[in-house]
Symmetry: C2
């Protein structure tokens, strides 16, 4: 056999769920531009600030203390307590630490949530455009992700409840609800969350709630509306969470799941049989973040608000784009008039503007014509990026 | 609904593969004894040494340098190069860095290997007794683990090739081969590995090779026989590996997969959709371990050899146990005469000896009557543990 035939034969012998997992459409554009001098990278969902010192120092102290052994699969008790405190402060009511389970990233939280709820023969409804890793994780688990495209009405994204309900079939097991949403910034109102919950209850469905951008809202409130505002503790809701965004910890791979404590042993087992827990020294960093991180979060939100202003005003000034400054999260999602192939456009803008954007096509149905720009970055980079985009789009 | 009915209803709404994932039988005994004063814990597969300073310092330098951002899904290129160098030195021939993929633990390597190869309707053959996380991971993926018990012949564990082949059905997709083996210490000879490979080739099966204890052998050789000694690069073999044992890094959650490069994009995607990569600062620690770790490994092996001697001689002296000092790994697996329920015995020895052992029953077929003792520990603890076990077993 020649090399290509050998490779084909190896691939053919793999499970289709694995073989067919899609390559990230964001990474594809990144690989195209990774080595370009002076490129301003706004394609990934992370800011430009390294993790703050007080968090790093907590990890280093733990390492120096020799905390390098196996630990609790559910997370160290001190971190679970810190999560309960953080939630109590944010949502204004007490939380039991038994509801919290430490994971090796928000992504792993999604993987475990999906694994608990959906598999071969099941469907999971995903409003779209959506973070591509969510439908991909559903597919890897052997289930089918079903898109419900958001609509753009009266200058705002809207999730049509009739379309959401129409997507539910006897095979549906869960709704994945991401609010504030990546990439659109769609932020559900409290009454919309109540409607979604009522729908899930009526159909006996789980909700996988991704509220990781809850702190990044721009109407002056402390946080976005949450399922926490409308739910009972024993509702079938699994929250998937991460330390990545609030505390500039994308590279740490630390997240958590919040779920009814009755699921505790199942979640522990699924952690055991996937990564067998998170490093204690990383968890110590998480405690520092939760307990001492509010000033840093305030700084991050202020920066994002300024970034949002620079980007939305600057792009509007081109008169070449359609956009709505997002209600939440830290992405500007926008379409360029007359351009419908976002993959080609993102690749082109790497060359013509030396700015890295994520193609909306990577985010599935409803995203095809859009571009996603992450504005969690210093103002001067954003001003320069917008100027470059203005020139490239007017050319 | 009352609370129990609510909990039952929540659990009933989960996928059976998740709900039925077994609780670790090792953890059950640990939870029984975790808080006992003065207990000598020999139940887990880790030593008593914290990670050496030169490894910790590499991580701290990386943290101080602000390496706290997202990174390559396959691992940073420098670590993949270091893995290639390490393998070249150990196996005496060149390796391409394209064969190596960084994971968030040996466990995650197993999870990804299983996910690539087996799912609903498939069978995976697992010689047993085996590390329980392997058959559990097969089950979580929706496939069925099929045990082939090792036999104890002429003072040595043996994998009967006839029994191995007899376990293969049209549904079989892979053989999980762990040598040196946890918990038995079974160490395949080179010609046995060649036979297993020939069998896999004949039946078109994958081999998932767990050689994580390869350095821990007690016949004076530098390493155990390996599939590397008998394979071609394009054979259907996936090696699942970890930094945990050689470099006392159990708490770091860092491992790797070695596989044909043709699988690269699939492995990258499965990392992307499970944990989305490993922290750069943890990977820097891995590089230090690989490049500067040989003196530490030599010290670890010498300690384990001494531990093996203390434990095997001490237990033999009771005249109450059947055992074979293991050829590899760092566990003494032994049976106590007249005692067939290892779970009850392990729980009892927590009370009567204040020593923590893992019950063989947790390791599946063929392990029911055994106990696993980890001897990767300082001599004085082991001498004391053996004395306590001698007293308890003679009582």
């Amino acid at each position: 056999m020649n090399m290509h035939a050998q490779a084909d034969s190896l691939l053919a012998s793999l499970r289709p769920e694995a073989r067919n997992a899609p390559e990230s459409g964001i990474v594809e554009v990144m690989n195209h531009g990774r080595l370009k001098q002076g490129l301003i990278p706004l394609w990934v969902g992370e800011g430009d600030l390294p993790t703050p010192c007080f968090i790093v120092e907590a990890a280093k102290r733990s390492l120096d203390a020799g905390e390098t052994f196996y630990t609790w699969q559910r997370g160290i008790p001190e971190l679970r307590e810190a999560l309960a405190r953080y939630h109590a402060a944010l949502y204004g009511r007490p939380f039991s630490s038994e509801r919290f389970f430490v994971t090796g990233s928000g992504m792993q939280s999604v993987q475990i949530a999906v694994r608990m709820i959906a598999g071969a023969g099941d469907e999971v409804v995903v409003p779209s455009p959506a973070w591509p890793n969510v439908p991909a994780a559903v597919g890897v688990a052997g289930a089918v992700p079903v898109s419900v495209p958001l609509e753009f009405r009266d200058g705002r994204f809207v999730l049509d409840m009739g379309r959401l309900e129409a997507a539910i079939t006897p095979r549906t097991r869960a709704l994945m609800i991401n609010s504030p949403a990546n990439p659109t910034g769609w932020t559900a109102r409290r009454e919309e969350l109540a409607e979604i919950l009522a729908l899930a209850r009526r159909h006996g469905l789980w909700i996988v709630a991704d509220e990781i951008y809850a702190r990044f809202v721009y109407d002056g409130s402390a946080r976005a509306p949450s399922f926490h505002d409308v739910m009972e503790d024993e509702d079938r809701i699994v929250f998937v969470q991460t330390f990545s965004k609030n505390w500039a910890m994308t590279g740490w791979r630390l997240g958590w799941i919040e779920a009814p404590p009755a699921l505790g042993q199942v979640i522990e087992n699924l952690v055991q049989y996937s990564t067998s827990g998170s490093p204690v020294f990383v968890q110590r960093a998480g405690i520092a973040a939760l307990d001492e991180g509010e000033p840093f979060i305030a700084e991050q939100i202020a920066r994002a608000a300024e970034g949002r202003r620079i980007v939305s005003e600057g792009l509007k000034a081109t008169n070449r784009v359609s956009l709505h400054a997002p209600d939440g999260a830290f992405y500007q999602f926008f379409a360029v008039d007359g351009r419908t192939d976002s993959r080609a456009l993102a690749l082109e803008l790497v060359e013509t503007a030396n700015v890295g954007l994520a193609p909306g096509a990577a985010f599935g149905a409803g995203g095809e014509q859009g571009l996603r720009l992450c504005f969690a970055r210093n103002s001067s980079d954003l001003v320069e990026a917008v100027a470059r985009l203005q020139r490239a789009l007017s050319a």
